[in-house]
């Protein structure tokens, strides 16, 4: 705990700075990059700079093009199923200090998570650049499946890089991607995890940049990716803000989201960054606990460094070598984090806290049993955080029933059933599913 205090970023200590921002300072909502404070930038091989320039130029023109805006709006509505619902979780709320908890239902989108927002946008940009092939990295397979989906819809060739160990454990997601027409390439280099899949995708991109767009899955990486990925997820926050005003007549007291790279979080935060009355929380994967070394609490315990093209908080050793992250949630199991989050942490606008595997799984089961919604384990970190925030609000300010906590339910948990069944010991010990669950399989 002491270590936590010492290593924590300057959240709180820069309160004056963020107050200045909030009282008529520049908006925090549309930071264009390449820099977010001292974070972000382009720590990339020269070979890829021209492609990043091309992407930035295409993106800037697309944003100003009514045809592109209309295309995105049409796909969001008629393909993804937006706007996603805002659901009040009344029975769940009783466990969160009695505050009112509202869920932004990104789990109801086509493919089952927020990921679809970004892949459709980037696949359209790829088409505008005349590229015929997209590549993507994936950990558990969610971004890979979303990328394969967008590629199928828009007639693009799709290659997905995935750690060899993940391919074995996520055989069903590999099958999903292949059903959608994508090629999945197992990555056997380095630690064979998500970060190595990103490395391999970058190597592919350097060699094939003429016809290939790298469809990065989170709000990290070199400029313009952090600002670009945020842009396609801003719809989450904009919808949620209008919906909460419509349903309750006021802004929420707090907004909660889980953070891996941080794309769902930056999407919902965007709607509320300029509202001084709204407290904003990002919940990182605390794994076995932040004092065990087995976690993915990048902002809580990492130090600034450069990885995959951006300066940001990073889990690294004293030599600057990247440290392996650990989380029960594959979607949060990444040793880096998007640069805008590092900035929002440093200026104290967003509070980042770790949630352990155990806390997340308790919240996972609670939502299943109180609301009839099976959340993604990633999103369960946000739910566990919301319980803490709700209890804190109730204890510190009283009048719990008048408080509102908004949670981004970033994905659905169908993929996590085997993991959860193993965690809660729901399977016969000799069943095939129990064997799968032991391996961390997400169905």
């Amino acid at each position: 705990m002491v270590r936590l205090m010492v290593d924590a970023p300057t959240a709180g200590s820069d309160k004056d700075a963020v107050d200045a921002f909030l009282q008529g300072g520049p908006s925090l909502r549309h930071a264009p990059g390449p820099y977010f404070g001292s974070y972000g930038g382009r720590w990339m091989p020269e070979s890829l700079i021209a492609a990043l320039d091309e992407l930035e130029d295409t993106f800037e023109k697309a944003k100003a093009d009514p045809d592109f805006i209309a295309q995105i709006a049409d796909l969001n509505k008629n393909y993804s199923g937006r706007p996603s619902l805002l659901t009040e979780a009344k029975r769940f709320s009783q466990h969160a200090g009695g505050v009112r908890v509202f869920l932004k239902r990104e789990d109801l989108n086509h493919t089952g998570s927020h990921k679809i927002n970004n892949v459709l946008g980037q696949a359209l940009l790829a088409k505008r650049m005349g590229k015929t092939r997209v590549i993507a990295e994936t950990g558990a397979g969610q971004h890979g499946v979303a990328s394969a989906t967008a590629a199928a819809l828009l007639g693009l060739e799709c290659v997905v890089y995935m750690g060899a160990e993940d391919c074995r454990r996520q055989a069903l997601n590999v099958a999903r991607m292949e059903l959608l027409g994508a090629t999945v390439i197992p990555v056997t280099n380095g630690s064979q995890t998500l970060k190595d899949a990103i490395n391999e995708a970058l190597r592919d991109w350097v060699a094939n940049v003429g016809n290939t767009h790298y469809l990065l899955g989170t709000a990290a990486g070199a400029h313009p990716f952090p600002a670009l990925v945020r842009y396609f997820h801003e719809v989450i926050g904009e919808e949620a803000r209008a919906q909460i005003l419509d349903q309750t007549g006021r802004l929420p007291d707090a907004v909660c989201a889980c953070i891996g790279g941080g794309s769902n979080a930056i999407g919902i935060f965007h709607g509320f960054l300029d509202d001084p009355s709204v407290k904003i929380y990002g919940f990182e994967a605390g794994g076995d606990g932040v004092d065990t070394g087995r976690h993915a609490a990048t902002i809580t315990l990492g130090k600034p460094g450069v990885l995959h093209g951006a300066r940001s908080y990073l889990m690294q050793d004293d030599d600057g070598q990247t440290i392996e992250s650990h989380s029960i949630s594959a979607g949060l199991d990444y040793p880096g984090v998007g640069p805008e989050h590092s900035y929002l942490a440093d200026i104290g606008r967003v509070s980042y806290e770790p949630i352990t595997d155990s806390e997340a799984m308790d919240a996972f089961r609670l939502l299943c049993r109180t609301e009839g919604i099976i959340p993604a384990i990633e999103s369960a970190h946000a739910l566990a955080g919301a319980i803490k925030v709700g209890q804190r609000l109730a204890a510190e300010e009283g009048d719990a029933g008048s408080k509102i906590v908004l949670v981004n339910l970033s994905g659905r948990g169908d993929k996590d059933v085997a993991t959860a069944a193993e965690w809660f010991d729901l399977l016969d010990t000799d069943s095939a599913e129990a064997e799968i669950g032991k391996e961390g399989e997400q169905l």
Partner: protein, 272 residues
């Protein structure tokens, strides 16, 4: 005019290339990853490189996420890390080679290990070890303010990369920021032996020269004496990496010495 000219007198890399030029040939630059298969072997192989005809030596720092490297170098650096290589040992390697040879010794490194140690601290220690400077595959001049300052302070060479995809404007910017020489990437891709040298290499060199570069060396995919001969026709130096890493992997220091000797034949002046 560019800084490349202004500091020629203090650049170890420029001096090594100019010495080769005075002999009527291009310079030979050999790459080895530090700590593969061990620190002592890297030092011995570096000395063998110098004794058998390499003018400059490039020592790579093993890194967890080497996005510009192909399979052979990745495998070598992953093994070095698994054996416990630590970044500060690169200074032992540099000092071990510079104390025994006249070759200019550069360090090739991804940027995060330098940031972690501190750019100034890293530069000071490299300078004390007799190092010539840094080759930085994932640092572009746009992000290099700290490194520009430290390299000036300690008189180190800044070798940035230019690529077939570099625009004329970026080419100029990179050439202006570089000192010692400019590293021309021969192909859009990562390190690794290839059967032939990309035709793009000649164009990259011409573009870098047009942007004001005094010395341009070509790397990526260069593995044989005939590649060396071909590139030496238009470049100031030829960089060989993967082939040397495979040599030390398969045949140790003796194999490095033999390959260097062979590569060097690609630079011998034609008999009149």
């Amino acid at each position: 005019m560019s800084t490349v000219q202004d500091i020629t007198g203090t650049s170890k890399s420029a001096a090594a290339i100019d010495k080769a030029r005075a002999e009527g040939r291009a310079a030979l630059i050999g790459y080895l990853p530090a700590g593969f298969p061990g620190v002592e072997e890297t030092i011995a192989a570096g000395i063998a490189l110098a004794e058998n005809g390499a003018d400059l030596i490039e020592i790579g720092i093993p890194y967890s996420d080497p996005v510009m490297d192909g399979q052979v170098i990745q495998a070598a650096t992953t093994e070095a890390l698994a054996k416990g290589f630590s970044v500060r040992q690169v200074f032992d390697v540099v000092a071990g080679i510079t104390s025994k040879t006249d070759a200019a010794v550069l360090v090739m490194t991804y940027w995060n290990p330098v940031i972690r140690m501190g750019v100034d601290e890293f530069s000071r220690r490299l300078s004390e070890a007799g190092g010539a400077g840094l080759i930085t595959p994932d640092l572009i001049p746009d992000e290099a303010a700290e490194w520009m300052e430290a390299s000036d302070k300690y008189g180190l060479d800044r070798v940035f990369l230019v690529a077939p995809s570099s625009s004329p404007e970026r080419m100029r910017r990179t050439v202006d920021a570089s000192r010692g020489f400019v590293y021309a990437v021969s192909i859009m891709g990562v390190t690794g032996a290839r059967s032939s040298v990309s035709s793009a290499a000649k164009d990259v060199v011409a573009a870098a020269k047009a942007a004001g570069a005094e010395r341009v060396c070509v790397g990526l995919g260069v593995s044989t004496a005939s590649h060396v001969r071909e590139i030496a026709e238009y470049a100031d130096g030829v960089i060989v990496g993967t082939a040397l890493v495979a040599a030390i992997r398969d045949g140790g220091v003796d194999a490095v010495a033999a390959l260097t000797k062979d590569l060097r034949t690609g630079l011998n002046r034609e008999e009149a």
